[in-house]
Symmetry: C2
Subunit: 265 residues, 2 copies
């Protein structure tokens, strides 16, 4: 088992409940990554839905309270089983408190691209990009030991106190242990980059309030291209979009989130 | 009471349940508009949350089965009440079947724009735009009698068989009876334009699977600017984003959806 498979293992308890262990590798500064929690919920839904619905298509997640590392329970409520889609509610409980809830539609990804306006960005060769380490600006990021992120050096001015002001981070992303990225893995990777607000000169944590992922294709093997763009920062909230393309240049996932942000005075 | 207030009235039944009447004005070709259903769910959440949480901030909706016009019941489950946000699950039942479920976070909108990359588009003056009627291409659109949409004529080539291929519709939008658009009203308007796929030469209905709205500000009075852009069409699904700006040019809402689409052979 790879790190990701181990960290997202779900053990059926009957009645649509699953035991899970929240793995402290998938954290940033003491808080579990929101995409990791969504991938766990996604795996429980896929397990309960069966082979005809093996891929998450759309997953919408609201974060209520950050769970701690360790044991937790996921409850799945099947809302509808259709011909081509399976729709479920997935709720993560810890110490009998609801921490995270998601609505997840699963199905089977297939089909060609008919039309696309979200074309892959120009990113320097992976060997010319900068590998992020677990040492963040003033805190540790254990997530960087399990997810390998090599960012375009033109997006990293903020690390030297010179943000570009574009609110843009881009680069290459993959699992650090080489595990193939499948649709469940994409649920983590759309929320794994540093906040795009770093490139606006706003440091600090941006806790996700709501994250919706659309998974568009099973990625071809190889490192993935990723671009995270801040759209709008106002009234204590940031709207941020993350797109991921596979090695053939096909869009495979989009994550769109509303996150809390503390503005500089 | 305006048409919108009447159509989204919720009558408390106790225990977090509300009686609603699904109003056949808010339909397209016999199917209720997804944004209208989300606004109904949003109103029930706001009613149950109280004055400190009067605005929807993030609302994520999965559509299971299309409800019919007429009586239905909304059930609200409060998931968490925080200092600044209130989080709830809202479920629409008809004939005891779950039709639509949403996760909705409410709060109070306030604060200035700190940074923005989603600036208002250049749209011809409202008097130079084309008012959409209830006569759609091969079907009727009663929604156009309650929502007034004046589209940029440069986006309407598809109506004459000449789509531009940009997957883009833009123009002006407001309630037809002049009711002020508030945050609940925005939940309808982010899903009220014709599908952007019309501008790709793909006719026909695009049923929403999942719709997430971020409401960013209380709109200033006056007609709103709207832009709907197809992002990606592949494997039977379209990813589509709709942004709305108020008369001062401020972004007030974003809707992002995954919708089913039948591709031409």
């Amino acid at each position: 088992m790879t790190g990701f498979d181990q960290a997202t293992a779900v053990v059926p308890l009957g009645d649509g409940s699953y035991h899970v262990r929240l793995d402290d590798n998938w954290q940033i500064a003491g808080k579990l990554n929101g995409g990791y929690i969504l991938a766990l919920l996604g795996r429980a839904v896929v397990e309960s839905a069966g082979n005809d619905f093996e891929h998450p298509l759309a997953a919408s997640c609201h974060y209520l309270r950050p769970p701690e590392f360790g044991a937790a329970v996921i409850k799945i409520e099947i809302l509808r089983v259709g011909r081509s889609t399976h729709q479920a509610r997935a709720s993560l409980y810890q110490h009998e408190k609801l921490c995270v809830e998601a609505l997840i539609t699963t199905g089977t990804l297939s089909g060609e691209v008919f039309w696309d306006s979200v074309t892959a960005p120009q990113i320097p060769a992976i060997t010319d990009c900068v590998l992020l380490t677990t040492e963040g600006p003033g805190f540790t990021v254990p997530l960087m030991a399990v997810v390998s992120e090599r960012l375009d050096p033109n997006c990293l001015g903020w690390a030297a106190g010179k943000p570009s002001g574009r609110g843009l981070l881009q680069g290459w992303i993959e699992f650090a242990d080489g595990r193939l990225v499948d649709p469940l893995g994409l649920l983590v990777l759309v929320d794994a980059l540093p906040p795009a607000s770093f490139d606006l000169g706003i440091g600090g944590w941006t806790p996700t309030l709501e994250l919706t992922c659309h998974i568009r294709a099973v990625p071809a093997p190889g490192p993935l291209m990723v671009r995270q763009q801040a759209r709008h920062v106002a009234g204590g909230w940031m709207d941020e979009v993350c797109d991921i393309w596979d090695s053939t240049g096909r869009l495979v996932a989009t994550g769109h989130q509303l996150a809390g942000i503390r503005l500089p005075r």
